[in-house]
């Protein structure tokens, strides 16, 4: 289990490849990779991620540990970036290894759902008309709530 917070860009493919190296015979690997979104209706030049480093690490480590115990994962890891990211760049990568597909997928969902609402990161978009802080979404709270009761708040 590990958590990495970094400003540097990373390659999701290379990270997944390295992550599974010692568990290629486990049976199931799942991952989620989120990137900086920009659409014609809502163009974004870059995304700035502010964070509270010690608490961000602590919170994500808690979610990774909880997911590992709850879904009997063989391994789990998260990379989360901070600082200024260009459109299309990876922001976050959550990876799990288990003996079965559902456990691996649920592990990734669990980590991502809690990370969205309970890891101290704040996104600020830079668009053609200036910058705006992204508002938290009610649907993210609902997604996390389905996993209750968690041990982390």
């Amino acid at each position: 289990m590990w958590v990495r917070l970094q400003a540097e860009i990373f390659s999701p493919g290379a990270e997944i490849e390295a992550f599974v190296t010692h568990h290629k015979d486990a049976g199931a690997v799942a991952s989620f990779y989120g990137s900086v979104r920009s659409t014609p209706e809502h163009p974004v030049r870059s995304l700035h991620l502010e964070h509270y480093p010690p608490l961000a690490r602590k919170q994500i480590e808690t979610f990774v540990k909880e997911a590992t115990e709850r879904f009997d994962l063989i391994d789990a890891a998260v990379i989360h970036r901070f600082g200024t990211l260009a459109r299309g760049e990876p922001i976050v990568l959550a990876m799990t290894i288990a003996h079965h597909r559902q456990a691996a997928l649920d592990g990734v969902s669990y980590i991502m759902d809690w990370l969205k609402t309970e890891a101290p990161f704040w996104k600020r978009e830079q668009g053609p008309a200036g910058h705006t802080w992204i508002k938290a979404k009610r649907s993210d709270d609902d997604a996390a709530a389905r996993w209750r009761p968690p041990t982390a708040k």
Binding site: Y52, L55, T117, E118, W122, W133, A136, K153
Partner: protein
Amino acid sequence: MQIMYFAWFRERLNTGSEHVEPPAEISTVASLIDWLAERNEVAAELFADRNIVRVALDEQMVSHDAPISGVRMVAIFPPMTGG
């Protein structure tokens, strides 16, 4: 105690952290937020909806009824948008 602010709370208050010495009767997170809002108009506006104010005490997420005695670092921030 030291108070840290993040995201648009930090931007609007024009500071990332400040040292405060609240009076002894300020004993919980809720009363600390009330006290901060009373002494600063911008804070009053930012914290108007108490439901969106998230707080960590010494790097531990807490609810507004948590006691603050002995706490060194209070972090106050809006809802998180990680991932």
